[in-house]
């Protein structure tokens, strides 16, 4: 089997045994990147020199029998909104073109300490705002399964490079589905962790109360190994929490016998593509075969999910993105004659359409006189949604549902109708609003051979149960996996 078709854990085992050298794995990844990028365009920038320099140190440690983590020596792709010291970090925006952060995100420090090797920074929707990676200022990413289709978003670059064999594992971020939806479209696996499980320090903020960094890979076992490395309290992020000691090995040892899985009936309603519904039913059968019970139950409040999400996310975003003012870093308009023009021109030129739309929405809902009607109401709806989920978890160990109503749309289809694009987030945004963990994994393909994804939603800090279920599922005979 070629290097670029293997899982991260398979590569790590061979690196430890000496069957593979770190440089060989890097060579294979960069060769595949050169072959695939003209079509896929999943990366914004590569950090080849840094990667080989670091690889030499990692190799020395491996040669000495010192593997600093279960993934030591494995290359990794990083979504381009995670700060990497001295390495361009753009958020796929002209606003941050050429910006080199003076510090590393906490997750990057943890990857370094675990001897994972960053390959480059992946494409995304500008400032993580979008569901297709088409709002990137640096060109669209194409779905490796069919280049006429989008890879999803906003972590579309990370999902696409995994599917195209350009990286064995990746980091993404998820504010309203940005890890799970591209995983579904590209046929790979990814986790949106419990809010607070992974440090956000160095994650360039979109919506602070919803953003989470998470692992993306070819299988649940890889994601669990990466999650073990990045999870845990960070004193630089006051919203990060003490995670009850997570162990990938312990998580994967669990099984599904006697587990109760609930399927929110509202998740199977109108607008769901028939192939997606069919794949979901088949997945439910597999879970039953593994010993779980699967049943439908009502989850009210879903109708309020999308507006609630967009009000809260845009409100926080308009404030978070105010710092891009053309003064300290990033794009600064050349022709500005005074302070006000510096602000107006720099921001008009630096931000794309979707970002501007959300900044304006956010400013509107926070405006004096509208705050109570929108933002405050949204916070109330958020709490009610959370309660509805907690009630469901009194009965069920985890929930099962689709990630998106359809498989990947064609390029250009979504941007022409932003409202439709927002509505397609309906199954993913509730998880962020409730702060829950959710794991997306492939569960089949549609009539056009495009991947279909499902998600397992867990209790707060219930990641172990999700990994156990997904891993058991992925080990069943003929289980749908990403392109390997």
């Amino acid at each position: 089997m070629s290097i670029t078709n293997q899982t991260a854990l398979q590569l790590a085992a061979q690196l430890r045994s000496g069957a593979l050298r770190v440089s060989e794995v890097l060579d294979a990844c960069y060769a595949q990147i050169e072959a695939a990028e003209p079509t896929v365009h999943g990366y914004i920038s590569l950090c080849r020199e840094d990667a080989y320099a670091f690889a030499a140190k990692v190799q020395a440690r491996l040669d000495a029998g010192e593997a600093r983590s279960a993934l030591a020596g494995v290359p990794i792709a990083i979504k381009d909104l995670i700060c990497t010291k001295g390495i361009p970090t753009t958020c796929a925006s002209k606003m941050l073109e050429g910006f080199r952060p003076p510090y590393n995100a906490t997750v990057i420090e943890r990857l370094h300490a675990a001897d994972l090797i960053p390959l480059g920074k992946t494409n995304m929707d500008e400032f993580a705002m979008g569901s297709t990676t088409e709002t990137s200022a640096f060109g669209v990413t194409r779905n490796p399964h069919n280049p006429a289709h989008v890879p999803g978003g906003s972590s579309g670059g990370s999902a696409a490079v995994l599917a195209a064999g350009e990286a064995p594992i990746a980091l993404g971020s998820d504010t309203g589905g940005s890890i799970r939806q591209p995983c579904a479209y590209c046929g790979v696996t990814g986790l949106k962790p419990t809010y607070g499980a992974v440090s956000r320090y160095g994650l360039i903020a979109y919506a602070s109360s919803l953003d989470q960094i998470g692992p993306m890979g070819r299988c649940a076992a890889d994601c669990a190994a990466l999650f073990e490395i990045i999870a845990g309290r960070d004193e630089k992020d006051s919203s990060s929490m003490d995670f009850p000691a997570f162990s990938a090995a312990a998580a994967l040892a669990g099984d599904l016998r006697g587990k109760r899985i609930g399927v929110p009936a509202e998740f199977l309603g109108e607008g769901l593509q028939p192939a997606v519904a069919k794949a979901l039913r088949e997945a439910a059968e597999r879970f039953r075969a593994l010993g779980a019970t699967v049943e439908e139950f009502p989850l009210p409040m879903l109708a309020y999910a999308v507006p609630t999400y967009y009000i809260i996310a845009c409100a926080e975003a308009c404030s978070n993105l105010s710092r891009y003012d053309g003064i300290k870093y990033g794009h600064s308009a050349a022709g500005a004659r005074d302070l006000l023009e510096t602000y107006i021109l720099s921001r008009s030129e630096g931000f794309g359409m979707e970002v501007k739309r959300r900044i304006m929405l956010g400013n509107f809902v926070l405006s004096s006189g509208y705050y109570d009607a929108y933002y405050k109401k949204a916070l109330q709806a958020k709490r009610m949604l959370q309660q509805a989920y907690f009630k469901a978890f009194e009965t069920y160990d985890m929930l099962l549902g689709p990630v998106a109503p359809t498989t990947a749309p064609k390029l250009g289809e979504s941007l022409s109708d932003p409202l439709r694009m927002y509505l397609s987030d309906i199954y993913t945004v509730t998880v962020n609003l409730a702060g829950l963990p959710a794991l997306a994994l492939p569960c089949g393909t549609d009539e056009n051979a495009l991947p279909i994804g499902m998600q397992l939603i867990g209790k707060p800090f219930g990641e172990s149960a999700l990994f156990a279920a997904a891993d058991a599922y992925q080990r069943t005979e003929d289980a749908p996996l990403g392109r390997l």
């Binding site: 700060c83 952060p101 003076p102 903020a205 004193e235 926080e316 404030s319 003064i327 933002y375």
Partner: protein, 476 residues
């Protein structure tokens, strides 16, 4: 018509914590531009705030010292606005649940009675940076050292009725903040500054007039002048049949006048919302109780104690307890010389005299505080006389000399050798036969003259009492 001036103050005080409110950067004043910054306080993408717990502790202490209720569940909000000195384009502040509410402090009023000024709230927030205009380049340069320095904003109710009351109120707050050690309150460095809200109304009117605000006044003089000028302007307007417009005005202390800055219509919408990067803060009963126990003696209590226990005059105690720096000097000196009244006299006389003559603030006194007590002790032990001591104190104050060493080096000690004094007086009497004759002829005033001559002969370094006594004996 008679008018009443109504004033409310928002006093901003920089806390003297070692590090900033949301990062570990130093807060030291006067460092080279942008040397006390990090990704957090310079607003780098992805950086997150972490609350310095000392700020909460200082805020609780301040609330207790000003009789406030402490909010047990408090939180931060974002105040959004664009300005180049604010790198995140929002200030982390408190709007909805400020840490302290409903307090008061007492000030002396015109009739020298006590007036209670209510405090509406005290909230925690971060300071912004500083902009410096570079006329050569015609550019503004930003210094972010001050970004993230912790601030408390102390908001009064509109209970003040004159510029004098406003000044007394700020002085009282300053004294309290210094006593409890939360701020150095150096107005000239901007660590204590005030926004004043002023309105006027006909005496006896029930409703307040329309108010205007003047921001960032950084001296007591500016506060007093700005209020007096603004009240006069508003009264003038009303007398001419005009009306006051609600607006923010800029006070120009050099020209002694204010000008319109922005009206209510242009008022910014700060789009406050809860800060999502910081969890709510729970303050426990135990925490509040511990802070209450740890509060030092406050100005009012100290003043009463000085009057009743030490028997000091009310006026003197008011002056001394008005500044923690004078209090420290006084308590040190009275411990050292064992005579509080004498120590108080020295503070009221020589110390205040030197401060005034040299235009120095009590916090900027730089001499060893032990020196004053030691100097007083030298007088009490008859080593030097009072006149010499005053001269020595001037040296202590300006050059921080050691009193004993200085007296020794300059040969200022009193002559204690009786024989030497008698000899000097004999010589003097021999040269003043005329006066001696006058004295013996019954002219009593001549003795006074002879004592003066004797002291002069002794260069003032003999105890006056002893000189008098010896002279009388010699003349017999």
């Amino acid at each position: 018509m008679q008018y009443e001036t109504v004033i409310g103050l928002e006093v901003h005080t920089e806390l003297s914590t070692k590090s900033k409110i949301f990062c570990a950067c130093a807060t030291r004043f006067g460092a080279a531009p942008n040397t006390q910054v990090c990704p957090v306080c310079s607003g780098m993408p992805g950086a997150l705030p972490v609350l310095n717990q000392n700020v909460v502790e200082y805020a609780v202490r301040t609330g207790l010292a000003t009789n406030c209720a402490i909010t047990r569940g408090t939180k931060f909000d974002r105040k959004n606005y664009f300005y180049p000195d604010l790198p995140k384009a929002y200030q982390i502040s408190q709007l909805h649940q400020p840490i302290c509410t409903e307090g008061w402090v007492e000030i002396p009023n015109a009739e020298n009675r006590t007036k209670r000024i209510r405090i509406r709230e005290i909230h925690m927030e971060e300071d912004a940076g500083k902009l410096l205009h570079d006329p050569w380049e015609d550019a503004s340069l930003a210094d972010y050292n001050r970004c993230g320095v912790p601030l408390l904003e102390i908001v009064s109710q509109p209970d003040l009725r004159s510029a004098e009351e406003a000044v007394a109120y700020v002085e009282k707050l300053k004294a309290i903040l210094e006593y409890i050690g939360v701020s150095d309150c150096k107005m000239q460095e901007g660590s204590l500054r005030a926004d004043v809200n002023v309105s006027v109304r006909p005496c006896g009117a029930g409703e307040y007039g329309t108010r205007t605000e003047m921001k960032n006044l950084n001296s007591l003089r500016a506060i007093a002048r700005a209020i007096a000028s603004e009240a006069a302007r508003q009264i003038g307007l009303l007398e001419e049949g005009g009306r006051v417009v609600q607006e923010t005005r800029r006070w120009d202390d050099d020209r002694g006048e204010s000008s319109p800055m922005r009206s209510k219509e242009d008022a910014q919408d700060y789009k406050y919302f809860p800060e999502p990067d910081l969890p709510p803060i729970e303050i426990s009963e135990a925490q509040v109780e511990a802070a209450r126990q740890a509060l030092p003696e406050l100005p009012e209590t100290k003043k009463r104690r000085y009057i009743t226990e030490l028997g000091l005059p009310e006026y003197d105690t008011g002056i001394i307890t008005g500044s923690i720096h004078l209090v420290r000097l006084f308590e040190r000196a009275s411990d050292q010389c064992g005579n509080p009244k004498e120590a108080a006299n020295w503070i009221m006389g020589e110390v205040l005299g030197q401060l005034k003559a040299t235009q120095t603030l009590p916090e900027d006194m730089s001499f060893d505080p032990d020196s004053l007590g030691r100097l007083i002790a030298l007088v009490q032990s008859n080593t030097i006389n009072r006149g010499t001591a005053k001269k020595v104190f001037a040296e202590v104050f300006s050059k921080n000399v050691d009193p004993e060493a200085y007296v020794q080096e300059h040969g200022l000690a009193l002559i204690t050798d009786r024989g030497a004094i008698v000899q000097a007086l004999r010589q003097m009497l021999a040269a003043n036969e005329k006066s001696v004759a006058q004295y013996k002829g019954g002219k009593a005033q001549a003795l006074q003259y002879l004592i003066g001559q004797g002291m002069r002969a002794l260069k003032g370094q003999a105890p006056a009492q002893e000189v008098r006594q010896l002279l009388e004996e010699l003349l017999e």
